[in-house]
Symmetry: D3
Subunit: 291 residues, 6 copies
Amino acid sequence: MKPIRSFLFVPGNKESMLDKAAFAGADALILDLEDSVPPPEKAAARELVARKIPELAAAGQRIWVRINRTAHIYDLDDLLAVIQPQTEGIYISKPYGPEDVHMASAMIAEAETRANIPVGTVRLIPLLETARSMQLCFEIAEHPRVIGIVGATAKNADMSRALNFIWTAEGRESDYLKARVVMAARAAGKWPIGGIWQKIKDLDGLAKSSQLDRQLGMAGELALHPMQVETINRSYTPTDDEVAYYQGMIDALDGAMAQGRASVMYDGEHIDIAHVKTAREFIAMAQALKD
Amino acid sequence: MKPIRSFLFVPGNKESMLDKAAFAGADALILDLEDSVPPPEKAAARELVARKIPELAAAGQRIWVRINRTAHIYDLDDLLAVIQPQTEGIYISKPYGPEDVHMASAMIAEAETRANIPVGTVRLIPLLETARSMQLCFEIAEHPRVIGIVGATAKNADMSRALNFIWTAEGRESDYLKARVVMAARAAGKWPIGGIWQKIKDLDGLAKSSQLDRQLGMAGELALHPMQVETINRSYTPTDDEVAYYQGMIDALDGAMAQGRASVMYDGEHIDIAHVKTAREFIAMAQALKD
Amino acid sequence: MKPIRSFLFVPGNKESMLDKAAFAGADALILDLEDSVPPPEKAAARELVARKIPELAAAGQRIWVRINRTAHIYDLDDLLAVIQPQTEGIYISKPYGPEDVHMASAMIAEAETRANIPVGTVRLIPLLETARSMQLCFEIAEHPRVIGIVGATAKNADMSRALNFIWTAEGRESDYLKARVVMAARAAGKWPIGGIWQKIKDLDGLAKSSQLDRQLGMAGELALHPMQVETINRSYTPTDDEVAYYQGMIDALDGAMAQGRASVMYDGEHIDIAHVKTAREFIAMAQALKD
Amino acid sequence: MKPIRSFLFVPGNKESMLDKAAFAGADALILDLEDSVPPPEKAAARELVARKIPELAAAGQRIWVRINRTAHIYDLDDLLAVIQPQTEGIYISKPYGPEDVHMASAMIAEAETRANIPVGTVRLIPLLETARSMQLCFEIAEHPRVIGIVGATAKNADMSRALNFIWTAEGRESDYLKARVVMAARAAGKWPIGGIWQKIKDLDGLAKSSQLDRQLGMAGELALHPMQVETINRSYTPTDDEVAYYQGMIDALDGAMAQGRASVMYDGEHIDIAHVKTAREFIAMAQALKD
Amino acid sequence: MKPIRSFLFVPGNKESMLDKAAFAGADALILDLEDSVPPPEKAAARELVARKIPELAAAGQRIWVRINRTAHIYDLDDLLAVIQPQTEGIYISKPYGPEDVHMASAMIAEAETRANIPVGTVRLIPLLETARSMQLCFEIAEHPRVIGIVGATAKNADMSRALNFIWTAEGRESDYLKARVVMAARAAGKWPIGGIWQKIKDLDGLAKSSQLDRQLGMAGELALHPMQVETINRSYTPTDDEVAYYQGMIDALDGAMAQGRASVMYDGEHIDIAHVKTAREFIAMAQALKD
Amino acid sequence: MKPIRSFLFVPGNKESMLDKAAFAGADALILDLEDSVPPPEKAAARELVARKIPELAAAGQRIWVRINRTAHIYDLDDLLAVIQPQTEGIYISKPYGPEDVHMASAMIAEAETRANIPVGTVRLIPLLETARSMQLCFEIAEHPRVIGIVGATAKNADMSRALNFIWTAEGRESDYLKARVVMAARAAGKWPIGGIWQKIKDLDGLAKSSQLDRQLGMAGELALHPMQVETINRSYTPTDDEVAYYQGMIDALDGAMAQGRASVMYDGEHIDIAHVKTAREFIAMAQALKD
């Protein structure tokens, strides 16, 4: 599956923003029915989003929807409305642990069945916003419907309330959470997803933040505003220099192998088959993003 | 339950120090029967502490006692002496894992029963001083009698021997342990407790250290000396600026909601319901500390 | 068992390098049949290594062998050739989790049995190079044959591909992995092993890197070249100043105990029995390395 | 809580049967919305049952409802209709394991919340009708909302399809399942519930079957028809002889204790404190059923 | 996949028996390289079996092979010889638990890879002959390559040594093991396989034994001799009466449903949708065995 | 370790019974401080038992002691008194699960340490008298200090109260418990221990009961009275006929192997290497009981 660098949140109650979202350049959209929609507008937003899904998909967008969590379950009406053949996946908020992810997945299966979509088609990404879900992130990531887990932090948001830490841009308090999410997701063969940068206009801050996430191993990131998309995409796109570096590494080891050696010094470092595997995967990923 | 910012250790064999402890301003006292009491004085200290508990409680102190670990269990005589109606909880050293926490809890239940105190009244805080207890800190934190877990580090102390790391004031080697304890404790709904600053007279160092712990999410901290209490309390007390900041955030979103929006820019950041929940909890905690 | 500060990789197909390895000063050698040997030379390397083991052991070297992983298991021919009475242990690459470590251990037992060596004699160290093995490092470390686990990172190597992070010399992306390996290994009573520094000629960089690993709690480190051994050994050897510091601490508390106190201020810090235990273990380790 | 010997199924679409149910003498009713209601009548049955709950409760009945399982979840509309202040609990069919029991419990909590009933009030009994739920019956029984688990078998019903055994009245094929359910339920402090006798008119067969279930440790049983209730109640009610036997045992040991002995021969058997505890619990249960 | 009623063991060292096996009428053959082959003939038997696999498969036989267990692993040479495109699966002896099943599966994957067969094609059935493997039979049955588990008992064989029970034809001592294997296998969606009847010529005893196993829920059984095949097949084949009974049940409920009822009395029993599902599965199975 | 067929309970407060116990012929004695001692005599019994241990051991008896369970732990004073160099093991009552077994083991370790006995010397047998301990019997059996587990049932005793079944001499209600204990114990390499026959004078009933237990796989049994010992020992001792039968089997296969066959018909059954292993173990056990 083609990687997703940027998931752009779009409020589900704003038709004009939904219309514009197709032009934001995001790798995927998250049509939001949850925190960005005021309670009185939830029902209208659900209808609007349900109507926009085929349109946006026809415009080439990959469609995800963040549904509401009700008092104790997820919003079945949301799911019945938005699970459509064009829906790539669902974002859920605040699971308390793997049992809630099972429940969300079963509710999605119910909606798939009623919509005549093969069970298991629609993917799931949980936002790890409770301390228990962070603690149990590997168990959550192992659920077969889950394709990624979000380990995002921001000043004063759910995540910081859950852990009661004080968010900083440098991220000392967030590094553990993020590194843990990266390892757990990768161990389960899923995407670790980072973010969030709340100072919408501070693109330099965003660039720095997304590069730090990328460096820790994140596969992509949540965007709060279309303005952020280009910066995020750039942070997660291999540069030409990087591509050249890895191509050179492949060539160097190929040369050494031709001479019967299994390792070579390249750019001052000791390189062997393991490194070239990394290089080939990097170039494949760079190519996938271009296609 | 009212938060505890500072737990002050007081040697159980020093009557004058026990007497003065009531004036130290600590949120709770730990009357210590363990490492700060030389072996020949253990029995006398036990008696002294047992006698002081009602006095100190009458003076408004919240009373915790650190008991001894014998060769393979915890010290039953210590427990029988110090489990009294005024005892809020027990600190135990060096559990090897959840089974030892179960054992300590059963021994406390035995002492509660003999003292006619309802079983489960006395709380338990384990000091994570063995590597295995740190590894299994979430399982330990889930025990119903446990109200907090301590992830404290200091130069050359038990914790550094367990992991064999070299302690630094900056804490690169301790950050993983501390962040892990914060997440595990919060995931179980318990308090993560930090510390320890051994350079008693270096209050600036202490302030920096306790602010780092607070920033990582610690709920409070161990104090070795009455001199440290005020600095620690300050680090864990919300400032007026912080209270004003969060009150402003609540007001800003309330305003936005009144206009049918679910999010607002506040102080240059994108704020929604999730942030306001953090704000309300922060203000409630600040209020609890004032009461 | 005497600690191992440096494990030196030696390509298993280079007789002259194998011969010279005995003079490198490494605490242990890893005769490598895996990535440093080109595929066409694997069979010859296996024979060569099998022949060199008794020689190198006779020259006082502690012998480890890194065997190949075939498509789905480990290389049984490698094991049958290199499990000899002088073989201290086996390094394995890329286990996917505890089940693979069980499988490797069973294959070693098979080779021990056929070589008339008591089952369980030969130790095992897994290189944590898959994300799942890192995630499950504690479960892996608990296997009775495992004596250590490797949490090494390097630019573009298996480990960075597994987590997809960007390696830096400062190690922000690696700290979580390394701290996690330290705690898991210590919790299971095993050695955490660090490394790797690929810029062979940059000994200053190596010194800094190995000191950072040591400071995090690593017990020793992988060396890629004989040139690196001395630097690594130095990083993991207590200095005279350290020995003096800890001896002073023991003396100070002994003095205090003689006067009926259980703690003392030493070098500006509050010291008690816990610290002196650390001191005694440190001095014992320093002594073991001298013997 | 007062024991329940007989749970009587009543089809939820038959008003006259619902009305008569109050006179059947069952300890509890199960108003059935599931397999005894033909699909086209499900919606009407739901309304009818919702309407009858307060009536039947007012007539002194303890009310349970068996809801439908939809394709992948439980029927939320059923739950929203039947969770009322008078509803003692919900029966669910075919959970696949503990995750489904969590899901059902969360859905019940949702309905409790919307009905302003304190969360956790309504109890849950899962029918173990899939092999996986039988395999994991202890894990299911441990869920706090679960008050009992059903290990019932009958010719050709769900349970025999799940295990593919051939049902016999003697029950060789069912004994393992039933004994397993008894132990798992008791280990979790819950009720093991047996049954089912499908030959409605064969009351002798029913008596034998229910006595076998009782003898294995079942606490009560499912009834398919009002005719069965009296027989079932009798099987699970202590006889006068039994009460006299246990009272005699208590007296005998009391006598022995008065003479300083801790055991006595009673009715040819060696009796001590353990037996008298059983006797006292038996008499307490007999008394509870009379009240 | 078509059910297998009878798995016939054929000694792998007897060419004439292998040739005749194709005419025995067994649903599948187990070409045995293990206990029925004397050690000096193991190598020759391996070659013979490898040669016979394509022949027997061409003659319409479903081919399974029981390989040897060496001191600590499974026999890799056996696997490399007998994993061929026509091989349906492998029987393994004496796994000590799930880890050994993982190991066997990895060794099979290795052989599949070398034989250019897609990994996962060849199925696995473990003989539960150690007490630990019986205890952990559910965990074993959950392995994706495992298609069935054997819970067979016989006088003095491995199974009785493992549990140290005294085998009886009535099977009181075996019922627990067998019922446990049935539930665990069905819970994992796999086949429970029974047997073994050692009195080769006592076909009446065999018939009784296989009917008891079938009644407990076994899906098929091991045969030691061609003479046993017909009796076993008969025990596991639905009779015409059974087919008629279930067809009548389907008809009866169809009739009731047409009149708006969801249950009906059939043959004196209360029947609903659950029973008819059993009936349909039974008839489908009967049909599959005829095809 | 030599098997134990009969464990004879002796009241710890009856000196004459303790003196006579040495002549009862039991393989081991259980000096009882628990239910057979009236509360006022507990302290005196403890002293008496402590005094008798060396005497009885000197008389060739293997000594076990059943200690008291206090409100929440085990009786530390009991343990400190009876853990002596001659004590083979401790029986504990009513553990609630593996955590309690850990606690008991730690308390025994404490007593061993104070008595200068190497930690781990004294063995532990838990009486599974709570439903939870029966449910978790495998986890309990895996504890390294545990050498056996008791799955005994009797009319109205703790075990029947725990499961609330009705005890019968035929044991339909007990078979599941006993077979489960046999498998769990054997899976952990421990002894399954049966019993109890309360009708002291009914030796025929005892013989039948102990033979049923033996047949299920029990290794030995609890005896309530010296009169029962001989009957029990006989039930668990191989008969001469059995020894002859197994010796004949060994001879038969040896003969077949000499002719190049790996199996043979013996006494009408198909016999191979697996059966002969059983035979050899049986004869070894018979020999151990004679020594």
